[in-house]
């Protein structure tokens, strides 16, 4: 290299300010932001910033400000801390339900505009006050923000609670054939627990699926890769019958057919494979006939619950499993545009067909 250029570079370096520096130890990395709607339509914005100072007693800083928008809160939050607050390591966004009911689009727009915010940041709904949830410290779990994040991350990896990231939320919002969803968490005394999945129509929160039904939603919404699922075939007093599938792989297919009058009929085929490691009941797993009966029972059970759930979604006019995309793809563009999809959706015939298979049933017969 020519000897002059390094000198030139150094001169230029003097010209370049240090404004753009984010030196680690002087920076506060927002981990989780909570949004609450106040009665006066202002926002209460909470911020959880992990602290890496070995001398400090706490391992995080929780800040709070009341502002008109999320960016408006920034100066108020910055005033409370010695660190430079940045969003590049943001992991989780916590919205309170009342806020979500009013629509999240404004927040989402701001968030996706900021190039430092990762598209993989999680969208989570909070039962009750989001800030209080974030602020509370749980004895057995250091750093509530990280606790929530790892909880959701683990759930997402087992696919019981669907993952909702900023990218997915906005993508589903803009896609006309599907509606976004987001998990709901709540404070359960000593722990935090997932209390359901919120269903959106557009950017507005409409209703929720209860935790017990989450695996049905998961089956309907995507292909599972290694989920666990327990199916209660019967539970009346003493008499219990249940079957648990482990490492369940499922394949979902949606077909749109036309009935005689030309109305679309949606068929959802779910084919699932799993190993059964728990079965409580009278049938024998090693007998072919028994196994078939059992699988039929379980499949019918799943089908009825799935159809129930779809009915529930239709009643609420939320298309959380993306039927719209398939209906759309089955018709011409012009007729899709003319269609009032949510009206059509509410009266759509949707049928479910579940095909369960046992890969193995463990070590014993």
């Amino acid at each position: 290299m020519n000897k002059r250029w390094p000198g030139l570079l150094l001169t230029l370096a003097m010209l370049t300010g240090c404004d753009d520096q984010h030196i680690l130890e002087r920076t506060g990395f927002c981990h989780t932001i909570s949004y609450d709607l106040l009665p006066d339509h202002n926002f209460k914005i909470g911020l959880s910033v992990p602290k890496a100072d070995p001398n400090s007693k706490t391992d995080r800083e929780v800040l709070q400000a009341i502002a008109h928008s999320s960016k408006d809160s920034q100066p108020k939050l910055v005033r409370q801390t010695s660190l430079l607050l940045v969003n590049g390591q943001l992991r989780n966004l916590l919205f309170s339900l009342p806020l979500a009911e009013g629509g999240l689009l404004d927040q989402m727009d701001t968030l996706s505009r900021d190039p430092s915010i990762p598209p993989k940041v999680k969208i989570t709904l909070a039962d009750g006050d989001a800030y209080d949830l974030l602020k509370k410290n749980y004895k057995e779990h250091p750093r509530t923000d990280r606790y929530i994040y790892t909880l959701l991350e683990k759930e997402a990896s087992y696919q019981t609670v669907p993952e909702a990231t900023l990218y997915e939320f906005i993508r589903d919002y803009y896609d006309d054939g599907i509606d976004p969803i987001a998990p709901i968490i709540k404070d359960a005394g000593d722990t935090i627990t997932v209390s359901g999945v919120g269903l959106f129509r557009g950017d507005r929160y409409i209703t929720r699926i209860k935790p017990d039904d989450l695996h049905i939603l998961a089956l309907l919404r995507h292909n599972l890769r290694h989920a666990d699922m327990t199916i209660h075939l019967a539970s009346e007093g003493q008499h219990k019958e249940l079957i648990t599938f482990n490492y369940l792989k499922s394949d979902r297919k949606i077909d749109v057919l036309r009935d005689k009058s030309g109305k679309p009929v949606v068929m959802i085929h779910i084919k699932a494979f799993g190993s059964v490691l728990e079965y409580i009941g009278k049938l024998k797993l090693h007998s072919d006939a028994d196994r078939n009966t059992l699988l039929q029972q379980a499949a019918r059970h799943l089908e009825s619950r799935a159809e129930e759930m779809i009915k529930f979604m239709q009643d609420n006019k939320v298309d959380s499993i993306g039927i719209g995309a398939y209906v759309r793809n089955s018709m011409s563009y012009a007729s899709w545009k003319k269609l009032d999809w949510y009206e059509e959706y509410a009266h759509l015939t949707v049928k479910c067909k579940v095909d369960l298979n046992i890969v193995n049933s463990g070590q014993t017969l």
């Binding site: 030139l8 230029l12 010209l15 370049t16 404004d19 430092s116 993508r171 919002y173 896609d175 793809n329």
Partner: protein, 361 residues
């Protein structure tokens, strides 16, 4: 010029000239203008690119690989040519520097928002100057290395396999875009520009280069790469999301999540400096080639210095990203016209010369 370009180098050189800042916003522009399955429009545009390349091939055939400037100077007096030369010289360096400026503006969205862009621009111009000074053969060599360093980025697109959904592509073709498809065509077409500079490479190639064949190959390569990128974007984002994303490619990169490094768009965008660098360098090199015709006595180093200086000064004008984009768009319209018009004019000129018997058989 001692050495002639080899076929491989010429292909990569043209390819690297074509791929530049336009590709960052390409999927969005396709979505905006062409709507559903807009990535198919790439192939329509490719047809025009090939047509244009074929026109240049005719020039190559007719002029027997001689420099186009010699062809011009044979029949047109220098007085008439001078303003044309001056325009071409200034225009090409402007395009090169505007592309660089836009690259820097986009970079500043991600990092260094408060540093003055002209400082980056200065370094960029210095590097470009150093490269131009080394001559076309070395530019080709360097672009090959740049190509090898950047080409693996394409493999990252397989990372989106899990989030890619065919249903999102929809079966509709070109629905829901803007009604003015002609404008859309001209807005997206500049993504391919760069191949027209092949007209200046005539004197640096010989029979073994198969110059026109390499131009076709590199256009084909660009078509495939663009179609692939756009295709992945359409299946990864939904159409509606794609329409509102400024630079979808950056969001795609940001989504990549490796165990040791996250948010690799910070790193990858730096790598894309290489492709932009070649775009700028080739355009400025074209300007220098024209400049040499005007001032044959000036030393090459001085000439390229003056031209880069001019480019640097010009790039002061757009002060914000939108302006740079708008300027670059206008310049690209002219360049598109030039890409078609210049070779057609040359063909006419060559035919006249041939009918007059001025060309040696």
């Amino acid at each position: 010029m001692k050495e002639k370009l080899s076929a491989f180098h010429a292909t990569i050189l043209i390819y690297m000239t074509q791929v530049g800042v336009f590709s960052f916003s390409l999927p969005r522009m396709l979505a905006q203008h062409f709507g559903t399955n807009g990535w198919l429009a790439i192939f329509i545009m490719a047809a025009f690119v090939f047509l244009n390349t074929a026109i240049i091939a005719v020039v190559y055939r007719l002029s027997k690989g001689n420099s186009v400037f010699e062809t011009l100077e044979r029949s047109i007096p220098k007085i008439v040519l001078y303003p044309i030369y001056l325009f071409l010289c200034c225009f090409w360096v402007t395009i090169g520097c505007l592309a660089a400026k836009e690259y820097i503006f986009i970079f500043q969205i991600i990092a260094f928002p408060s540093t003055h862009p002209m400082i980056f621009m200065f370094i960029f111009c210095v590097l470009a100057y150093l490269l131009i000074n080394q001559g076309i053969y070395n530019i080709a060599k360097v672009s090959t290395v740049f190509y090898i360093i950047t080409v693996w980025i394409l493999f990252l697109f397989f990372f989106y396999y899990h989030d890619f959904k065919w249903t999102r592509l929809t079966p509709f073709i070109f629905q829901g875009g803007s009604p003015d498809k002609i404008k859309g065509f001209f807005d997206v077409y500049p993504a391919f520009l760069g191949y027209e500079l092949v007209i200046l490479l005539f004197p640096y190639s010989d029979k073994k280069t198969h110059l026109m064949r390499t131009a076709f190959i590199s256009c084909g390569l660009v078509t495939i790469v663009y179609a692939f990128i756009a295709f992945v974007s359409f299946g990864f984002f939904s159409l509606g999301y794609l329409k509102v994303l400024q630079y979808p490619i950056l969001v795609l990169f940001a989504y990549v999540h490796l165990p040791l490094i996250e948010r690799i768009e910070n790193l990858l965008y730096g790598f894309l400096l290489f492709t932009t660098m070649i775009t700028t360098v080739m355009n400025s090199w074209a300007a220098v080639e024209v400049g040499k015709r005007m001032f044959p006595k000036l030393k090459n180093a001085v000439l390229s210095f003056l031209i880069m200086l001019f480019g640097y000064v010009i790039s002061f004008i757009p002060e914000v990203l939108m302006e740079a984009q708008r300027w670059l768009h206008y310049a690209a319209y002219i360049e598109t016209g030039l890409a078609f018009g210049f070779p057609i004019a040359l063909i006419l000129l060559l035919l006249i010369q041939r009918s007059r018997g001025e060309l040696q058989p």
